[in-house]
């Protein structure tokens, strides 16, 4: 299993979620985060924005569906400007469903 964490523009959140749902991945967790990227934030005139609001979506999926998820996020979160976000993939060894106690590994 892998956890895909996508940090996307808040205004693109709905597009990403609906695109993922259409591909059969409705389950995810969302949290509002603040971050800055390689450009060290945003400079508008004399004002420097150090912490830019983003939405982080976390999706845990089978290894085989990770390329599909990444592709969907890449297409639906794309604007073409700095600040479109990042996608991170990290390993998850076990997943439990609390309601049933069901365990899946790998």
């Amino acid at each position: 299993m892998k956890m895909v964490r996508a940090i996307v523009r808040p205004e693109k959140e709905n597009d990403v979620v609906l695109a993922l749902e259409a591909k059969g991945f409705p389950a995810m967790t969302k949290t509002h985060v603040f971050g800055r990227g390689k450009q060290k934030g945003l400079k508008v005139g004399p004002i420097h924005y150090d912490e830019l609001p983003k939405v982080m979506l976390m999706i845990v999926a089978e290894d085989s569906s990770v390329p599909v998820i990444v592709e969907v996020i890449k297409n639906s979160a794309y604007v073409g400007y700095e600040g479109d976000g990042k996608v991170f993939v990290s390993p998850v060894t076990e997943v439990y469903t609390i309601r049933t106690g069901e365990k899946s590994e790998g």
Binding site: K30, T93, Y96, I98, G101
Partner: protein
């Protein structure tokens, strides 16, 4: 070796879970306010956690196989909810304690209703206590 246990649970189960973890000697954790949507893609009513189960008990005696969603439809509670508020607990612990902790979290959080949450276990490569510079299992 260390593992990170990430539990996404109901809001009202945070305190019981913390008490149970305390009793096991695990005081340290990170709690985040998150929103989630499970395989059902959200829910159809707002107060599933608090309002419905009591009523549901009475109704389910007559109709056994009523899901929360169809219960909402029958009772005109159709207020679709896209994101359900949840709490995410992240606990880093030595991998020897993993099974014990996972079983405990599951027994405390299980209500048998959709939305009880998920537990993810993932490997942690390195851990460092900033104050003392301890590394590895000593630092968690």
């Amino acid at each position: 070796m260390m593992v990170e246990v990430t539990a996404i649970i109901r809001r009202d189960k945070v305190a019981p879970t913390m008490r149970a973890l305390d009793a096991m000697g695990l005081g340290a954790m990170t709690i985040t306010t998150v929103s989630g949507r499970g395989l059902q893609g959200g829910n159809v009513m707002t107060d599933l956690d608090r309002e419905v189960p009591a009523e549901y008990d009475a109704v389910s005696k007559i109709t056994r196989n009523l899901t929360p969603a169809s219960f909402a439809l029958v009772h005109s509670l159709t207020r679709p909810v896209f994101w359900i508020p949840k709490r995410m607990l992240q606990i880093v612990l030595p991998s020897s304690m993993k099974n014990e902790v996972v079983d405990m979290i599951m027994s405390v959080n299980r209500t048998g209703w959709m939305g009880d949450g998920k537990i993810f276990v993932s490997p942690i490569d390195e851990s460092l206590r900033i104050r003392t510079g301890e590394r590895g299992v000593d630092s968690v």
